[in-house]
Symmetry: C2
Subunit: 453 residues, 2 copies
């Protein structure tokens, strides 16, 4: 067990306060096998494992023989000692079920869905590489504070790095949430890799229209067993919002800055991963946060893009299909127009989002290929690779040529959200409705013109 | 002449101070044809046109019959009156050549190259649309203050919106600069559309290695005849830097914020258009500015990515070719791997930059197509669609699979700069050198790791 070899060097990494005092007093180290008698409730044997940098000071965490981790409140611990030094534990005293909720204090019930990604990964200490390894249950039990926020039910939906998550996964995830929404959950937390987290949050923002509970997507930029991991704080904030947020909608919970104080709750359609590695990589684009989580407090932003007033009609509710034949194309100087011809002829594409330059432009020599796509019924929508700001096809000749060809300008949707929305629109509506729905702001996905023209 | 109809409504738009006093006293309005006797030097007849919001208060601007604009210092004006009211001007008194430099005060000589774009455009008042119309000479004479900064020689290289500028244009522009660099210019200013300005500045940063004068690319977000135009301030800053900057290199001069005080001088390889319409749309990525221009002052930033110490070898100097068969691909969920097969088979592509997710990932199902490309000798480089931050292919399984396939990680080059650099590298060097040169920081295009891992 490589975790044992490695972490025995680290003495009591991550333990502070009450928990540290107890461990010091008991002369046990990380990686040692220990026996705990807790509050006359149970006796348990396991491997002492490190705590997260931002974990509380009142729990120690043991890895059980079953492979599960369990958090134990130090105030309830009667005795703690190394195995072999104290009385041996009977096998049948070891809690084998992960269902034990030792310190639940909240009535709110949250479904903690795991899909893989860094938040559910650990480092391979031999290679330094990160592998998906932890289940929702592992995380739940490794962060016992979660249980003081809500009653957690873990579910592994699938387990993959998010770069492999495709529109098919968006659909199965949506269907799974709809199916479990009949149970009495206050909200849903989706643990997911950060690589395509913003695509997923945008996709689910549309497929979950009409769901009464909030859905919080959460990831982490550093794996859970690294000292600088952001997973515990992000996850606690996500569970808090899922348990207590009175609003529906799909949100993303990630660090608001590089400190460990505020967690931003981004609107699912207005968020983007803007840095490869920073813990505050996720940023709201042309939009404020929906809320900030600071400790146990949710600070709601009432200037919410005006979307609170939007009431999507029943036509839009719980439509969970996503069309697969959709492309996202970033235009570049010297772009080979034959790629568009290929997507039409061989790719059988039904819709394309183009990230044009500036206000939404492409070079004049590819407009005839765009004409070809549109005349075959392909939807072509225009966004900007600038990311921030609105497209406007009425200012320059190029824009007017594109309008004439039938290209649909998509306001200030950036490429990722436009792509997710188009996949949803094409999956659920008839072609004659595509342009209108793509331009409509159904759930506040278009924000006001924030600039002076 | 639509400009005449429209602007006659605007009385004396843009004129303030001394110039306004003279016009008020002389009872002439914008759009009227006037005759000026100036300082016994010449008599000239023309149409009074509006001034830019940020123009000085000491010149009036006339559009001559020849089509050129001319700025006249009000302190030198002896008399000013409407045509027909005063003595008629003789045709041969109208300066027909744009070469007259009435108020040159500086010895520095700057080549002002025009390529088109908003900075060289004007509004069609009938439609509200913007057309490329102004030449470098028009702008030079419409902004007479330029002449107090440097002696300006205008040259129209080509005239197109920058979305139409391709790597072939990069090459012809580079060759033109090299050819004119034998004359005694202090520096070069390239007026260009903003849509692909950052691609061009990156491309020229490589093709101009070894040029001793600075090259300043400048654009504007609002056309020159709009009250909120940024063109005059950006252009004045660009000319100032071209005239006085002691460093070589390629830079971009654009508004640093939404006020009209500071103009940012960005490194050509580290700048990106990050907003469709704001005047401060251009931002330095993972980098500070090279300098700021405030009024007549150039505030040099000495913390310059360490590039000052870089001395590119002669191998890199003035290589002005660009390969055309290069693609920039943004990966997205559900990406159709057949696009890569098509680029190899039909597109005859020689190099591809992929904007992967996060640290530089793609879904596992397209790795075999990437293998196919690389085994046929195609260069495949990895950047991140996050834009900020470094790629790292050693952290996750996906990254290691890509390394194994022969994908070259490109540090913190973002897509646009990576694409421009690859077009240059493939145009000028042998295949065996491609990976090393693409990963090397030749002119500071790779910046330090700014984040704590």
């Amino acid at each position: 067990l490589d975790i044992e070899n490695k972490e025995s060097e680290n003495s009591l990494e991550g333990y502070r306060g009450l928990a540290r005092e107890l461990l010091d007093k008991s002369k046990v180290k990380i990686g040692q096998r220990v026996i705990v008698d807790a509050d006359d409730e149970f006796r348990v044997e396991g491997l002492l494992i490190p705590r997260y940098e931002h974990a509380d000071e009142e729990h120690i965490v043991l890895k059980l023989k079953s492979g599960y981790n369990i958090g134990i409140d130090v105030k309830k611990i009667g005795s703690l000692s190394r195995t072999g030094k104290g009385h041996p534990v009977k096998e049948d005293n070891i809690p084998e079920s992960p269902k034990i909720r030792v310190f639940t204090r909240s009535a709110a019930k949250v479904l903690l869905m795991s899909t893989g990604g860094t938040i559910a990964s650990r480092i391979d200490y031999r290679t330094g590489a990160v592998h998906p390894a932890l289940s929702a249950e592992d995380l739940r039990s490794a962060i016992p504070e979660l249980e003081s926020i809500a009653s957690i039910e873990p579910e592994v939906v699938f387990s993959t790095y998010s770069e492999n998550i495709s529109p098919s996964h968006w659909q199965s995830l949506s269907e799974r949430i709809v199916s479990r929404s009949k149970e009495r959950f206050s909200g849903f937390v989706i643990m997911i890799g950060t690589d395509t987290l913003a695509y997923v949050s945008a996709a689910l923002s549309f497929s979950m229209i009409g769901l009464s509970q909030p859905v919080i997507c959460v990831g982490s930029q550093r794996s859970s067993d690294r000292p600088s991991s952001d997973s515990a704080l992000n996850l606690k904030a996500a569970v808090l919002v899922a348990a207590r947020f009175a609003r529906s909608g799909v949100y993303v919970a990630m660090h608001a800055n590089e400190n460990d104080d505020d967690i931003a709750i981004h609107f699912g359609t207005r968020v983007r991963k803007n840095h490869t590695s920073r813990r505050d990589a996720f940023r709201s684009i042309d939009s404020d946060y929906a809320a900030l989580v600071r400790g146990q407090e949710i600070v709601i932003n009432d200037q919410q893009n005006g979307d609170a007033s939007l009431k999507p009609s029943d036509d839009f509710k719980l439509k969970t299909k996503f069309e697969r034949s959709v492309s996202l194309i970033k235009f570049h100087p010297g772009f080979d127009s034959r790629v568009l011809d290929f997507l039409l002829r061989e790719g059988k594409v039904k819709g394309i989002i183009i990230e044009g330059t500036g206000l939404g432009h492409v070079s004049h020599n590819i407009i005839s290929s765009i004409n070809g796509l549109i005349s075959e019924g392909v939807f072509v929508g225009m966004t900007s690779q600038c990311i921030w700001g609105h497209v406007d096809l009425n200012v320059y000749d190029t824009g007017r040529d594109l309008i004439r060809a039938g290209v649909v300008p998509l306001g200030n949707l950036f490429g990722e959200t436009a792509f997710a929305k188009l996949s949803w629109v094409l999956g659920n509506f008839q072609p004659e409705k595509w342009p209108a729905i793509m331009q409509e702001s159904i759930i506040g996905e278009q924000t006001a013109r924030l600039f002076v023209k």
